[in-house]
């Protein structure tokens, strides 16, 4: 028979989940509900009047080809950020895992960038790649490459991806490193005795055993790229040049807080919520099947 711990009565369990319910209600359900409600109106900025437009805000958005293009931009951006933050993190974690001495120092140094807020990370990278005084752009200039992310969309995208991914490498590193430590030594040693080389062992044993962690990081990193990167975009490119780095969440921010168009901004939040919800469902349905726990 299954063994379960059960509570007697209702009061204690309710009391125990209450903090989480209250936090979710205040910081998620209430604002999300407000966003859905406001997305049906065109309000004036001061809240003096509101006009009911039904799905008018959504119609306005989806008929805007620049808004539709921003989905593609967001997809490219999110995939690049996820790859650029996970692959180097895994690589570094494997290296740190093989260290016998001094791995603590490396670990600490590699975790540092995570403490830097996205907007500040944006400013740091902007300084290095500043077209006039940037160290990196100066070296590139010496090599004969004229770096100009102010007009070149590809370079701008590259820069915001690197700036967004940089701090995440630390986060991903931590998880990969912990997961690597949990891989049973006996399995690896058995494979080694059978003559499997490092790469063979890595592909056939270590990576499959890391899959739960990899899956978790995939979901978390995509959510990060969708929602938390607007500080980086705001400080480095403000969505430009043209619209090459205008991702969905940046448009929510700039339409709402720069343009004072709260109706459109709310409708965009609702669309974003649906998109990320769908993405997460898809990830759990299809990718999770390939995860071995």
């Amino acid at each position: 028979m299954e063994k379960r711990v059960t509570f007697k009565g209702w009061m204690l369990p309710l009391l125990l989940i209450a903090p989480q319910v209250v936090i979710s209600a205040v910081f998620f359900f209430y604002p999300a509900g407000q966003a859905i409600w406001q997305s049906l109106f065109i309000p004036d900025p001061f809240g003096l009047s509101m006009q009911y437009v039904g799905l008018g805000n959504f119609e306005f958005l989806l008929s805007d080809k620049f808004y539709r293009a921003s989905f593609v931009t967001t997809a490219i951006f999110s995939i690049l950020v996820t790859l650029c933050s996970m692959i180097p993190a895994l690589f570094l974690a494997v290296l740190a895992d093989r260290l016998i001495k001094g791995s603590g120092v490396y670990r600490t140094l590699l975790i540092w960038p995570y403490a830097v807020a996205p907007a500040i990370a944006g400013v740091l990278w902007l300084f290095m790649f500043n077209t006039r005084v940037g160290v990196v752009s100066w070296y590139l200039g010496n090599l004969g490459y004229d770096w100009n992310h102010v007009l070149n969309g590809g370079e701008a995208m590259g820069l915001v991806v690197v700036a967004s991914a940089w701090g995440r490498i630390s986060y991903n590193f931590l998880f990969f490193f912990a997961a690597l430590q949990a891989v049973p030594k006996s399995v690896i040693e058995a494979a080694a005795i059978d003559g499997a080389r490092f790469w063979k062992r890595f592909w056939t044993i270590v990576l499959p055993l890391l899959s739960p962690t990899t899956f978790f990081l995939l979901v978390v990193n995509i959510v990060y790229a969708f929602f938390e990167t607007f500080g980086v975009i705001h400080t480095i490119t403000a969505g430009g040049p043209q619209q090459t780095t205008t991702i969905l969440v940046y448009k929510v921010f700039s339409d709402g807080f720069v343009g004072q168009d709260l109706g459109s901004s709310s409708a965009q939040s609702v669309i974003l919520l649906i998109v990320v919800g769908l993405l997460t469902v898809i990830q759990f349905k299809f990718i999770e099947k390939r995860v071995h726990y």
Binding site: D44, P45, F46, V150, G240, Q242, G259, Q260, D261
Partner: protein, 436 residues
């Protein structure tokens, strides 16, 4: 922060409401930091020291956009300040918010403070005045674009720095000569939409938008894809392709290039004066903004950028009396003249300009009067009074994007401006719907 300052802060936080009990408190939210922030604080202090009925409390609320947002959020929460600084781009937003703002002419009439609308310079107050002549907000810091010349860069490229640069035709030839002489940055600009479209249109007396640039109604449409504008942007696009015009960004990033002595010509606000004077290690000139000979009926007059002070609704009559006194103080000749000389912003009253001239300031600081002359040379027309467009901050963003497409060579000027019109008009229709 150490313990002493923390303690001092705590004490002042406890004490300040008590001190305010005796006097009527007036909250003033602004967007100035650094030197400008100090100068505003000094003005407020002088006002507070000069009388005992009111005490103005100034606070910095971030940049222009953030200050406007803070004011809006505060109004929604019923905690709005008495005076809110709003940049010129937010003018239509504030005007449409009837019930949230109290027009300045009303505040002044009710408070009985000294107020003579005709004392203000037409081109400055026009931006913030209804078509009936009622002043809605008090112009505070206003500037207008001019042409900055690095004389040393001209000499280094073997070009006479005294070349006539009054027309774009001449500037075009000069850029060619500068380029040939080895200049890597013949021309750079700040605030591209403000200077090369908004001011360009006013200066050539061609419309930027229908309905008198939005002054006559919310059903306005952009007209920035007109012949004159497209011709100018086509020329700029060619200069960009040839490396004669260097694009550095949407804001005033180009200022760093110019102040470092890299660029020969720079189109920038007259308020760039303080920074350029402090940093430039070369001889510089201020010239009037160039115009195209034979296009429109230029040079008309340029328009302003900057901010004005809006009075928010929802306070006591006694407090509005204090607001009136403070605004009258800010408009007084001595205060204005000092502000104009300290900052490079335009004087808001003709008397302040005259007092500055009488004090010999323009003779000692050559070129500081170029902006004033350029603004006031002609009586403003319907095309050169200013712009009053809803969602204008976003529309400027669209214009920036489309201009970048021209500079990158992805679109012709006509294609880019047609697209800017189409996208901008969609926002104007939304604004009309929200505020109609």
């Amino acid at each position: 922060m150490n313990k002493t300052t923390l303690g001092a802060l705590a004490v002042s936080t406890i004490l300040s409401p008590m001190a305010a009990m005796a006097q009527t408190e007036v909250q003033f939210w602004h967007a100035f930091t650094g030197r400008l922030g100090e100068l505003v604080a000094a003005q407020v202090e002088e006002f507070n020291a000069g009388q005992s009925d009111y005490v103005v409390v100034q606070s910095h609320k971030g940049n222009y956009s953030e200050t406007l947002n803070a004011g809006i959020a505060a109004f929604r929460a019923g905690e709005q300040p008495h005076i809110l600084m709003v940049f010129e781009v937010g003018t239509a937003t504030m005007m449409s918010a009837q019930g949230a703002t109290k027009p300045v002419y009303q505040v002044m009439a009710e408070s009985g403070a000294e107020f003579d609308p005709s004392a203000y310079i037409g081109a400055v107050k026009g931006y913030y005045t209804t078509t009936d002549g009622d002043m809605l907000s008090l112009p505070f810091n206003s500037s207008t674009p001019v042409l900055w010349v690095n004389r040393n860069a001209f000499e280094a490229a073997g070009v006479d720095p005294d070349t006539d640069l009054s027309t774009w035709q001449n500037v075009g030839e000069t850029l060619e000569a500068l380029k040939a002489g080895g200049s890597e940055c013949p021309l750079v600009t700040a605030w591209q939409s403000w200077i090369h479209l908004e001011n360009f249109s006013a200066y050539h007396d061609v419309p930027f938008a229908s309905q008198d640039n939005g002054f006559a109604g919310l059903d306005t449409e952009l007209m920035l894809n007109g012949e004159a504008q497209v011709a100018h942007l086509t020329a700029m696009g060619e200069w960009a392709a040839d490396g004669k015009f260097v694009y550095t960004g949407r804001r005033n990033e180009g200022g760093a290039n110019f102040r470092a002595g890299e660029c020969a010509l720079f189109t920038e606000s007259s308020a760039g004066y303080a920074g350029i004077k402090a940093e430039a290690e070369f001889d510089f000139d201020v010239r009037p903004l160039p115009y195209w000979e034979g296009v429109g009926s230029g040079p008309q007059n340029t328009i302003i950028g900057g901010a004005s002070l809006w009075v928010m609704e929802g306070h006591e009559a006694a407090e509005y009396a204090g607001v009136g006194e403070f605004l009258a103080f800010l408009s007084s000749t001595d205060v204005q003249a000092q502000w104009h000389q300290d900052t490079g912003y335009l004087p808001i009253t003709a008397a302040a300009g005259e007092a500055t001239a009488a004090a010999g300031f323009y003779d000692e600081n050559v070129g500081t009067d170029v902006a004033v002359i350029q603004m006031t040379a002609n009586e403003p027309t319907a095309n050169s009074k200013g712009l009053r467009l809803g969602s204008f901050d976003q529309i400027r963003g669209i214009i920036d994007e489309e201009l970048e497409a021209i500079w990158a060579g992805d679109k012709t000027a006509q294609e880019a401006m047609d697209s800017a019109k189409e996208r901008g008009d969609a926002l104007l229709r939304r604004f009309e719907q929200a505020n109609g």
